[in-house]
Every structure is written in structure tokens, then in C-alpha cells.
Amino acid sequence: MADTTGAKDPFIDNLNKIYIGYTGGFAFFVVLLGILEQMGVPDRIIGYLFVFLTIGVYAYIGIISRTQVASEYYVAGRRVPAIYNGMATGSDWMSAASFIGMAGSLYALGYGGLAFILGWTGGYMLVAILLAPYLRKFGQYTVPDFLGARFGGNWARAIGVVVLITASFVYVVAQIVGVGIITQRFLEVSFLTAVFLGLAGILVCSMLGGMRAVTWTQVAQYIILIIAYLIPAILMSVKISGVPIPQLMYGLALERIEVLEQGFRAAGMVPPPGVTGWHTSPFIGANGQFSMNAAVNFFALIFCLMVGTAALPHVLMRYFTTPSVREARASVAWSLFFIFLLYFTAPAYAAFGKLEIYQTVIGQPIANLPEWIKNWQIISPYGTPWVNIVDVNRDGIVQWGDFRIHPDVVVLATPEIAGLPYVIAGLVAAGGLAAALSTADGLLLALANALSHDVYYKMINRDAPTARRLIISRVLLLIVAVLAAWTAGSMGADILFLVAWAFSIAAAGLFAALVMGVWYKKTTNAAACWGMAVGYLVTFFYLIWSEFYGLHFMETFATKEAILRAATATAALPMASAELKAYAAGLVANAAAIQDGSLAWFGSLWAGSGLPTDHVVLRGRVVGRLWGLNNISGGVFGVPLSFLTIYLVSKFTTAPSQAMQNFVEDIRIPRGGVRLADRREAVD
């Protein structure tokens, strides 16, 4: 390894001083803006100052961290201390969806939303015990590097790159949409302008300095995002309970929510569509009774999110940057701790927001609603107002079911709900921006490195000099970024649901091969390639088929009664193509002729336990669900299949060479170097 460890770096030596000074500076900046606001500076200027000054700081860090050294560009020189790598992983990990969306999902789904909290934290257990120390010991640059070295070269590497690109690209597009939404609201520019402004912010961070710049920017972004998330929650807690510890005090809010919900039901009201009427009750259907389907989906989602976390390359590659195996292990624990700080606050946001709305909005005349509601009755990029009052029975009173709030607003509007000054709203926007930018940085770097390092250098031109590799890497970074921004700009918010798919795809494609590569010495090259391909293809086709060809999916796996229901629903879809509707109407008109699907026996395996294959109407489509499982948890089929394939093919192919077994021995032990089975797999 041509690492530069040992070289004196005044920046690394003074990390604590630098970041404490930075945190103090940021606090001072927020207070200063608060004073400016009191002196009458308009809100719009405050918004501009927040967005441009924070992006300016990230750009500054990006520029001073520029480098021409390959190990600095790809793995930050491998000298990021565990605790700082933990913070960087925290902001790398927590995206716009965590910062803006999660509390909103909890607001809407109640207990059901906790699957996200559990899934997105528990996955780090798998990272720590199964993968991170061994990938660090392996000591190269990327996750496909490991696949290539362990599983004999280009086939394994290429499949790894395909999975990585599929999973990371949809994910990065979603981050750019997130940046667009926030920038649009606080700078009052068009969505497309906002997207490209955000893109510029992302590129200055990562272009010049690669992983080194991204690491130190992500630490700075973590500090901003955690401050921005905790402060409004604390103020909200003070307002409602008088105690500034939201994580402890929202129990009282939950209790009051339960009582209020009971009262609403007793008064004959129903909750708005998409929102549960039993906030704290686990595994219940719309009628409040136990639902096997809800329970199975809850656990399946936890499983997919956990395994996906442990397979997403932009997270795993962060553990290539620590100085040692020991630090890599400690670093995963710190990562989880920093993520935990935000995730155990999110349910408090949801509970306080819900209680405030139940107490001050429901039952009020529409004419005298609080001011903040009027501010948010603007059209969102999803096509409906962020906050939408639909007076179903036209009585002029806001009933339980009349108040429709988009989940993304719960965090963004909290400062206004709690009657806090505008500077706090600007702080929340800066935090959301930090979350989206940091994740986009990490993802773009993972994508560009896969293309430049794994495809160009390792598969096309093994003799490329470092300077050319780094230039190609930056050009590819730019191309991928523009492509992602273009996709974000043209598809807008419709693409956000794809993020959840990234977890299932990464889980099914990569997890089994990575884990078996370390823990099962007899895993053969062919087995790993087949395992990755099977997991990836099964999951990918399942997702596409059930989501976009839901009726056809049902005609294959469902019973005739279920097919008829799906056809009826399809014929009634407002946005489906005329062709599809005509086809569905034809089926309905000729209902007696519908036969069970050719694989209906398979789809009905668990029908006796309350898990038949059925459909749901989501996102304007009829979406098929094998055994009632939402396709967000599509990985539950792919992950076990991938493990099984690897195990079985390994049994029937020649065992790996002694050199390969030595290599596996070496990565299992912290001390000493790594004997690669194929020397050509080494990086500088």
C-alpha cells in the first residue's frame, strides 16, 4: 500500500480544534442571523444567507482538500480517525429522506413507520460484525475491488459494478430532488434552477478532492444537520411539556394522542387517507384489528433495510478510510451512535406534531386556522398543496379526515407550528440541505469510482498512469452528476419511491457474495457470480413486474377472484393508458371467463395464513403483491436465493485454490499484509 500514513498533516493533528471552532462559528452565525431577523431583515435574505453561507463552507473545505494522490482521492489517505469517520458515515448515510421524510412517515404510519427506524439502524450491526473490519484489512479502494480480488477478476467485478450503479443511481437522483425541493422553497427559484444550483454545491465538494474532500465536508455537514434536527425538537418539547428532552417527553404526547384518537372515533370521525388512526398500535389493518399482512410487511421491511444498509457501497467504502482494522470496528459503533442521535428523535417530532395538530386544528372552524397552515397551502412538486384542507362534509369545521398534510412538511413546518422565529426555519432548511448534499456526494463518488477505477482502470486499461486515472474519475463524476440532475429535473418527485428499491437491489445483489466471500472459505468464483446475478435479477424483475405490470403480475400469480378485483381497479385508474384500461374493462366484462393464474398455486401458498397474493392501488398504478408483500420489501426473495445459489454452486464447482484460501485467511486476521491470489488485483 502506498499510503501516506506517518506523514505529518497539520489538519489531521488539529481535527478537534478545527471542528470545535467550526461548531462555535456556526452557532454564532445562527445567533447573528436571529439578531438580524429581530432588527427587521426580511425572511428571504435570511434564507439566502443560510443556503449560500453553508454551501460556501462546504465548497471551501472541498477546495482546500484537493489532491493528486490516488490513495487520498479514493480512500482519504486511510487516516480518518474512528470518531470522525463515524460522523462522516452518519451524514453520508442520513439522506433527505431521513432528515425531511422520516418523521413525516412516522406521523402517517404510527407504529408501522418504526420499521424504518429499526431497519436503518440495525443494519450497522451486520456491517460491524460481518464486513467492515475485513474490507478494511483487504485494504484496496472499492467494493468491486474486493469482489474482483476474491472471486477471480472481471466477471465478479462487472456484476458488482452493475448492482452498484443500479442501486446508487436512483438513490442519488432522489437526493438531488431533495436538494431541489429545499432550494426552491428558500430561494424562490424554479425547480430546475434549484436542481442545478444544488448540483454545483455537490460538485465543488467532491470534484477536486475525491474521498478526502468528501470526508471532511461530510463531518462539517453532520454537525449542521444534527444541530438543525435537535433544536426545533427541543423547542417543541419545551412548548408542549416544559422539559427540553424531546426523546423522553414524547411519551406523554403519545398518551394524549391515544386518548384524542379514541375521542375522534367515538365521535364517528375517520382518519385522513394514508394516516393510521391508531398511532401506537402495532400490526393493525385499517379497521384497527390485528392484520397478519401488516405484521409480515413490518418484519420484511426491517429485514430488507438492514441487509441493504450492509450492502450499499457508498456506506461500505467509508470503512476503507480508517487507519486500521481496530479503528474500522470502533468507527462502525460511532457511526451508529451518530445516526442514533437523529433516529431516536424522529418519533418525538412525529408525536409532538400530531398532538399539536389534533389539539389546535381538528375541530376548529376552517375560517380561523393558525397562520402557519396558510403558509403551507402552496402547491408541492407532488401536485397537491403541502397542507390540504378538504372539507368532506362541507360543515366548515376541520374534521379528523379533512386535514391532509404531506409527510415531508412535518419537519419543515415544525418551526412554524411551534411559533418559532424564521431563523429556525432557515436552520432546518440548512440541515436538510446538508443531509441531501452529503449523501449525494458519497453516492456520486461511489458511482464515479466504480466507473473510473473498476471499469476503466481495472478492466480496460491496466497501464493507465495515476494522473490520467484521476482526470477520468473527475470527468466521469461530472457526467454522472449532470445525468442524475437531468433525470431529477425531468422526473421530479415521482422518482422518490425508487429509493426504497435501492436497498432491496443492493441487498439481493451484493450482501451474500460479500459475506460468503469472508466467512465461507469454499465459496468459488462461479458461485459468487451466479449468486449475485440471481439475487439481482430476481429482485429487479420482481420490482419492475409487480410495479409497472401489476395486472399482468396478478394474472400470473393470483386466483381468479383476485384477478377480477385487480382488473376492476385497473379499469378505474385515472392515470392509466387507454389501452390498459380497455384491456382491464374487457376482463371485467367477461368475468366468468377469467381463469386462475398459471402460478396461482404458488401465489396461494400462504393464503391460509391470511397472506394471499393481492394488489394495492399506489402511485396511480395497480401494484401486485406476491403473498401480500409490498414490493418495497422485494429483497426478502432475492437475499435468501442469493445465499442458496452461492452455497449450492460452491458445492458443485472446484474448491478455490490454495492461494485464494490463503488470501481469505489473511483478511480474517488484523496483523500482517494480504497475500492476493492474483497480483494484478492490487492497487498501487
Binding site: 407504529y111 418504526l114 427506524i117 429499526l118 439502524t121 440495525g122 450497522y124 450491526m125 460491524a128 460484525i129 473490519p133 472471486f151 477471480g152 477478476g153 472481471n154 466477471w155 426523546q247 423522553l248 411519551g251 406523554l252 403519545l254 401506537t280 398500535s281 402495532p282 400490526f283 390485528f290 413490518f298 418484519f299 438492514m306 486500521s324 481496530r326 470496528r329 470502533a330 462502525v332 459503533a333 451508529l336 451512535f337 442514533f340 433516529y343 431516536f344 418519533p347 466467512w519 468464483n525 462461479a526 457470480c529 485454490s657 492461494a659 485464494m660 485467511e665 489473511d666 480474517r668 486476521i669 488484523p670 496483523r671 500482517g672 499484509g673 497475500r675 492474483d678 497480483r679 492490487a682
Partner: protein, 102 residues
Amino acid sequence: MPLVESGPEPESATSAAVDPVTAQAYWKKTSSLMWTVLAIWFVAGFGVHLFAQTLNPIHIFGFPLGFYMAAQGSLIIFVVALFWFAKRQNEIDEEFGVQEDA
């Protein structure tokens, strides 16, 4: 598939850093720690939540216990377990003398 099986050995590091017997004993102990932590992961991530309905009538500080476990309890277990794992694995490394050179 034209898979590359093996190539020439690199010049350096041709011998293992630790003798095979120690390596095997070390790996056995490391594996058992892995299974222990994996069991904690499974119980905190899935097991307790199977009983969410049974736990929910118990209220602590207003929190229904089943809800609390999914919102905070399991997360705290995850964080503590990971710090414990890092410490325990370091002890195993030192016990077998396979820790990295300082």
C-alpha cells in the same frame, strides 16, 4: 465462464503473519463472538417486536412498552452492543497476539 483462477504470488508477504494453529483458534473465537452479536441483533431487531402487542398495555413515562422498544429500546441495544463488540474483539485480538502493529 472465463474466470481467472490464480496468478503468480506477489513478491512480498508470501508467508502468513500468524501460524495456522493460532489463526484457526483465533477464528473460532471470533466466529463465536460473531454469532453472539448476531443473536443480539436478531432478538433486538425482530424477536422483541413479535411481542409488541403484549408489551403495549404496559406504560412507562407514557410510552407503551411495545412502541418504546421499536422507537428507542432496540436502538439503544444496537449502539451498546456495537461498542461492546469492538471492545471484546480487541481483547480477542490481543489474546492471540494478532492485533495490528502499533
